[in-house]
Symmetry: C2
Amino acid sequence: MIFYDCSTAPSPRRARMFIAEKGLTIDTREVSLTKGEQLSPDFLKVHPGATVPVLVTDTGQTLTENIAIAAWLDATHPEPPLMGQTPEEKAEILMWNARIESQLGMAVAEALRNGNPHMKGRALPGPDNFEQIPALAERGLERATLFFDRLDAHLEGRDFVATDGFSLADITAFCFVDFARVVKLRVDDTRPNLKRWYDAMRARPSAAL
Amino acid sequence: MIFYDCSTAPSPRRARMFIAEKGLTIDTREVSLTKGEQLSPDFLKVHPGATVPVLVTDTGQTLTENIAIAAWLDATHPEPPLMGQTPEEKAEILMWNARIESQLGMAVAEALRNGNPHMKGRALPGPDNFEQIPALAERGLERATLFFDRLDAHLEGRDFVATDGFSLADITAFCFVDFARVVKLRVDDTRPNLKRWYDAMRARPSAAL
């Protein structure tokens, strides 16, 4: 089994954290997005879509999306369960995971990729080059800020995002909330519920990897 | 159980088609997005996020994302399986589902919402109003067209998107491929594999609903 990772990016961090929370150790290859290694001929043979994370399983199946990697790992390594056990838990975790991806992860990515001079011509991940759209950077930051407020409200009286226990939804939320610092959006005392949850997540060993 | 639907929009169509493929009949309420009913006080009580589909289960759980509705229905009504049975199938289906959402569904939505004069000030779904970004409409159409090409190549020699059988990935792909007509992107003989698959999907009774 081979895990293709990038230590500086939030998407592969989600898979890396999931693997660690499962207590697994998987042969890991670093693909430096800063150096553009995802566009190298060698990596494009692994995944023509030119994104990380990628997990190549022992049977040779190539999984290239976080949700697929998580679902496969949860099905093959059930303990501890990170995607719920009852239909209700499974649905609640996937619902929050999807909300966080579309309303926070996407927004932070839009803000960074369309605003950072180092990402000119690389406004989207993948093999195709797209020019930056400055208005999208502004909108992304606005949306991410709104979602910080909503997550803070949602976390009032809650220890975890989706269910009564730690789950995939917490991993996804933590990785994107933490990464929002790149667009100068930070967790602080103005959002006390978010801060309490964030500090608890950050204290997990899997968050330090 | 109550299913909140909108007969003209692709996202609720995904859930509607999934419900039909499961052979289920669920009490359905139409929420007209054309009339802005998703922003009415009554619907905002159901889902403050102001989107459809929504499924309120018999226990009162409110599921507001396609992936959550599908996962709950598949767990509570296993036949026919639409999200895979082995870990490999489950992962492959979720992988394609995620790719189609981010590379096609998102792209078509960007093209429509940022280009259609009737959607001024409503460039994103949900309770917040965002101005249109014309460059994003152009980029969306370009991305959707690229994905049509990739899906055509992928479907060479295949009857279904993800596995050897019909699945959630086919539903998601069909609803967005079909909806791309709103930005003048249509399936035709220039993409023969896509056309063969599309015609087969369109012939399913669930596609007529």
